[in-house]
Amino acid sequence: MLWKTIYGRKELVRTLQEAIHADKVAHAYLFYGPEGIGKKTIAQVFATALNCLDGQKGCGVCLSCRRAAAQIHPDIHYIEPDGKTIKIDQVRRLKKYAYLKPRESRYQIFILQQADTLTTEAANSLLKVLEEPPVGSIFLLLAENLSALLPTIRSRCQEFAVSRLDRESMAEFLRAQGRMTGEQIAEIMVWAEGIPGKALELTDSQARQQLYQEAVAYLKALAAGKGVSSLAAKLAETEDLTAVLDAMILALRDLLILPAAGKHPEVLAGKGSLLCGQLTEKWHRSACLAAIPVLLKLQRDLQSPINVRLALENAFWDLKEVYNRANSCGNSL
């Protein structure tokens, strides 16, 4: 049974199974949730089950299921962004298929990955087919950012939130990956925030702590007034830049809520207060509060094609200013 490969989300699974069972499958579904949450897995299992030859159970052994697993099923189509967006030509091609009969199975299924990247034109040209698709065509839309989708698209789909995993399901999921101690699992869970995809990236615990330490080091250096430009240059050459920035944000956030988290260490990302304890002296809370938006903006900026080093330098100067300002206020007391 393929459904077993979906951890947690019992309600979602039940609803989908029920729809298949009662033969009331809608023509368009929208699964949304953050990156790495498992939208694609769900869509794949659902699509496979719909076309499964063994009573639509999703047996995983019949010819159809095996083809689907290898992603060579002729009736399950994947549409991915071409470059950064899904273009109108891709949608036109899709529609050409949609108005044909499924080749061999009962349903023809289109899985639109990152449907929130549909261009306005592409999204609009999808509207008609999404409203009244030909018999046997089913659309599965996957999206991270709901608000980037046209309301007219959303109103044509059944929307399902793909939720973060609760503790038990997450633990189960991690145990299923094997070779992990209970302690490691507990630690990963804090970082992954219930996102299995993130958890898989994080399985290397040493690297994780190293990242965090690196981030703390940068923050300390900034506070100590070291040369901003050289810091930025150093960071620009780091390979996992986004990860370090992530860690910096997490560290600042930890600092912010550290005092409040006394009894509930599970809300903290850094392991214990040891690491960020080094920072509490230096980074005032108001500084943290102002610094996080700076880093968030930097991350957003970095997604567009710009000079990484310049952007970093600019952000670091901002950080420093934020830091100085907060501290000059503190000194005046």
């Binding site: 729809a19 809608a26 008609k128 007219t152 503790r167 409040a260 809300v267």
Partner: protein, 518 residues
């Protein structure tokens, strides 16, 4: 026959079934009755209000074999053919896909031919706002004086994107958002027809969520029907919507009132873990605080503004403890949050920041305890402040009004800058003097700055901002002469070595010792 989505099964087939758009149906039916149908109609309105349905019904009505009548018979070959999309004289064009000038040229060419099967050739151009500018212009002549037997129906959700030359050639009919009660009635009909039962509350929730769109309502209903086992309850709807109940916000507000930051963060954690959509969560939060505001402002009459009776007393208690100023401040923070969250992939972090902002202010005033009934919170003068039970919260035990002001000072400066850059510059050259919660003293060294700040206008800017941030009037006075303990400027703080170091870095220079040269 495979299963069809509810909104397709229940697509209205006659004008009578087209609920909530009486002004449209009446116009069309009268035109039909008097034989004064225009040659081009523009249907606009929000999603799910019945534009496409109305277009199809109109196409049937003009072509019905029973003769042009106010309602299509839905029995004859023409009606059924149009229904199934078989009649080649009724063309439903998806303007979003066929949006170029070539397609419109083709349409123009073919529009000249007489209809084959039915009396009138009907072009239904859906999503017409997506046509390119050239295509629109190519359509103009045909749309102005189409051949005799042609009827154009344009439908769009975004009429403002159409060129004025198009709109002026059509009879424009605006579709309204469908009333709450109408949607509810329709939902009840559907539920009865599929043989399921549904609680009244659940119906209310669905109708509310649909916000005037019948298709949204039916989509949601379908989803809820698939999810729920047996009778549909309001919990089922909440679960499908991925929203939280009101009690979460009640607890959040309670946490704010008790200054229990940990509690608030844990609440957010719960929301994140259960996979709720934070954008929706934010909208709900805004609604909740709006309710608080309404309750406080209207008291007993709040029910008329849509506050549930059983919640009113609880809300009133919280609203009173918070005070109007604070509620307003929280609302503006949440609004800011909403626009940020839309484009962010870290909604939880943003929420945490927002919660923190909300709490930061609390430090200023004496935190109202939960049972306290005073409507306004007072800023307590120095020395008397004593923070009551704030478990685990990192609030220093003694907070003076001045410390609070200092903490808020950067924000105040930012706000002032938005109002007047001049005033901001003046403040930068001044220093904070005494502050007892009601009067704020600002010290200036130079006579010029002092005079400028004393000028009514500049003072007013600062006072306005202070009032906005602290939610109460604070008087500003200026004084001349330097204070002994002065705020050190950032630049002065840097020791000379560091300055040199920074300069070297910026200019990529090197140190040359002057004395050696000589």
């Amino acid at each position: 026959m495979t299963y069809q989505a509810l909104y397709r099964q229940w697509r209205p087939q006659t004008f009578a079934e087209l609920v909530g758009q009486e002004h449209v149906t009446k116009t069309l039916q009268n035109a039909l009755r008097q034989g004064k149908l225009a040659h081009a109609y523009l249907f606009c309105g929000s999603r799910g209000t019945g534009k496409t349905s109305a277009a199809k019904i109109l196409a049937k009505a003009v072509n019905c074999e029973q003769g042009e009548s106010v309602e299509p018979c839905n029995q004859c070959a023409a009606c059924q053919g149009i229904q199934a999309g078989r009649v080649m004289d009724v063309l439903e064009i998806d303007a979003a896909s066929t949006r170029g000038i070539d397609e419109i040229r083709d349409l123009r060419e073919k529009a000249r031919y007489a209809p084959v099967e039915v009396r009138k050739k009907v072009y239904i151009i859906d999503e017409v706002h997506m046509l390119t500018a050239e295509a629109f212009n190519a359509l103009l002549k045909t749309l102005e004086e189409p051949p005799n037997q042609v009827l154009f129906i344009l439908a769009t959700t975004e009429p403002h994107k159409l060129p004025a030359t198009i709109t002026s050639r059509c009879q424009r009919l605006d579709f309204r958002l469908i009333d709450f009660d109408v949607i509810k009635k329709r939902l009840a009909e559907v539920i009865a027809a599929v043989g399921r039962a549904c609680e009244e509350d659940a119906l209310n929730l669905i109708a509310e969520e649909a916000a005037g769109s019948l298709r949204d309502a039916l989509s949601l209903l379908e989803q809820v029907l698939a999810y729920a086992q047996g009778t549909v309850s309001s919990e089922d709807v909440l679960a499908v919507l991925g929203t939280v109940g009101r009690d979460v916000f009640y607890e959040l507000t309670a946490a704010i009132l008790n200054r229990d930051l940990a509690k608030a963060l844990l609440l957010l954690q719960d929301v994140a873990v259960s996979g709720k959509d934070f954008q929706h969560f934010t909208q709900q939060a805004i609604l909740y605080f709006r309710d608080l505001m309404v309750v406080l402002a209207c008291g007993e009459r709040a029910e008329r503004l849509g506050i549930a009776a059983d919640w009113a007393p609880k809300l009133y208690q919280q609203a009173q403890a918070l005070g109007l100023g604070e509620i307003g401040r929280i609302l503006s923070i949440l609004h800011e949050l909403l626009s940020e969250i839309r484009w962010s992939n870290r909604p939880r972090l943003l929420w945490e920041l927002a919660v923190f902002k909300i709490f930061a202010f609390e430090d200023l005033a004496e935190p109202p305890t939960y049972t306290q009934t005073a409507a306004t919170t007072e800023i307590v003068p120095e020395k008397q402040v004593d923070v009551p039970q704030a478990p685990e919260v990192a609030v220093p035990q003694q907070i003076t009004a001045r410390e609070q002001l200092v903490r808020q000072w950067p924000r105040i400066l930012d706000e002032v800058k938005k109002e007047s850059i001049k005033c901001h510059a003046l403040l930068l050259s001044g220093e904070l003097g005494n502050f007892d919660g009601k009067n704020l003293e600002i010290c200036f060294e130079g006579q010029f700055h002092y005079d400028m700040m004393e000028g009514e206008q500049n003072k007013k800017y600062l006072e306005n901002v202070l009032e906005r941030i602290f939610g109460k009037k604070i008087r500003v006075c200026c004084s001349l002469g330097s204070k002994p303990e002065k705020v050190k400027n950032v630049e002065q703080e840097n020791n000379p070595e560091e300055l040199i170091q920074t300069a070297l870095e910026i200019f990529r220079g090197q140190l040359i010792d002057e004395s050696e040269k000589e």
